[in-house]
Amino acid sequence: MKYLAYFLLIVLLLALNVGFFAHITIRGATVDLLLLLTVLVSLQKEFSPYLFVAVVSGLFLDCYTGLFFGSFLLSFLLASFLIRLIAQQVVMYELNWKYVFLVLAGAIFFIDVFVWGYNVAAVHYNLGTFEFGFEVVRSHFIPEFVYSAALLYPVYILMTAVNVGLLELERNRKFR
């Protein structure tokens, strides 16, 4: 049930990203709602499906961006694992927004650079057909971070609503 709920949330966020936010840009940059969800899920205290969210989100983005397959699958998987490690070893699990914004900035930078490098390598080895310049990554970083930071809380509310719904379902099942 948890996985189905998160799958539906991913589809909803993807639809918002592709159908609405992709048309509203700040200096050419837009928000990646699936990255926001991956970051938030990876920072959750309880057992969270962060690897599932990372893989499914990456898979959807690979298909919808048309970039060389694996760009987002690998980068989301690595980013979510690193965030989980940092949350376990260094920081803490209670959502502290100061750290969340720091983690978000790191995740955006890591994913954009990874996707850029992955596609450059794919074209270099005649596997991919298209690459984009580092200029895009450099010029998009700040507007993308501002945009993402503004939408982080709404995504957090959606994720919390899903978690509350799942908890209630679990409670009802036990009660019965």
Binding site: V11, A15, G19, A22, G28, L77
Partner: protein, 265 residues
């Protein structure tokens, strides 16, 4: 306990193997059914979101662009009068042409064959000037083929899977195509420009390139047919001492809001 024996690492390692396996399967083309499901399943939700979001989007963009809309309106009114005059001249020419063709018993030229496709996503993350369409090699779409919308060139195919393809938009900095000025026949290269739309480059300094002249595809590449309109010449960017002349190109196409396109076959 060593880190590699922890549950966290084991789960990550399994996921990594799964992902690498998927990349391998995709390189062999065996992941096509999954790609099709992924591209088609969320379409109803995306459609609903896009339809609900459109009024909000257009409301804010209208307010934001009000000044330029007024300016554009005046400019278009002037252009309309000029076009109406041209239409009268063209009607006359068409009638003359038909009469001459009948006399010479000319056969009609065959028209280019196009495949109509729906746009699944337009550059959702703003990283690349690409869009994904729901036509692929199964529909006869080939890499390099021209993509047209409302009679204007919007890009070319860079990757064709079985049932979906990736289009590189003409506004992307990696895009280039042979072009010529329709009125003079002067040839150049159309390029996308990072952040500023389309450019016509590599024109000879002696070529006449007045504002408003139509630029069309030159048809040198086999997959991009001749005479597809690309746009109108805008401002001249190069100086008189530059080796080549460079101008901006103005296309009426809203590259960010394409819904249907046609691919040349």
């Amino acid at each position: 306990m060593r880190f590699i024996y922890t549950k966290t690492f084991a789960a990550f390692f399994i996921a990594l193997v799964l992902v690498v396996g998927m990349i391998f399967l995709n390189s062999k083309g065996w992941l096509q059914p999954l790609r099709t499901v992924i591209l088609q399943t969320p379409r109803p939700v995306i459609y609903i979101v896009a339809q609900v979001g459109k009024p909000t989007q257009s409301f804010f963009s209208t307010i934001y662009n009000l000044r330029s809309i007024t300016k554009e309106n005046n400019h278009l009114t002037a252009e309309l009068f000029a076009a109406q005059q041209q239409l009268v001249d063209l009607d006359q020419l068409r009638r003359e042409n038909e009469a001459l063709r009948n006399e010479l018993d000319f056969k009609q030229n065959t028209t280019q064959n196009y495949q109509s496709c729906s746009v699944l996503s337009v550059n959702p993350l703003g990283l690349t000037g690409t869009l994904v369409i729901n036509c692929g090699s199964a529909q006869g779409v080939q890499p390099g083929a021209a993509v047209v919308s409302q009679g204007y060139l919007v890009g070319k195919i860079i990757y064709a899977a079985k049932t979906s393809s990736t289009v590189l938009l003409a506004t992307d900095s990696k895009f280039s195509a042979d072009a010529r000025i329709s009125k003079t026949g002067a040839s150049g290269i159309v390029r996308g420009s990072f952040g500023s739309g389309l450019l016509l480059d590599q024109l000879s300094q002696s070529d006449v390139s007045d504002k408003g002249m139509l630029v069309v595809t030159a048809g040198i590449s086999e997959q991009i047919p001749k005479n597809i309109i690309i746009g109108q010449i805008g401002d001249i960017l190069s100086g008189p001492n530059d080796l080549f002349k460079k101008t901006t190109l103005i296309s009426p196409i809203d590259f960010g809001n394409l819904e249907f396109v046609f691919v040349a076959k």
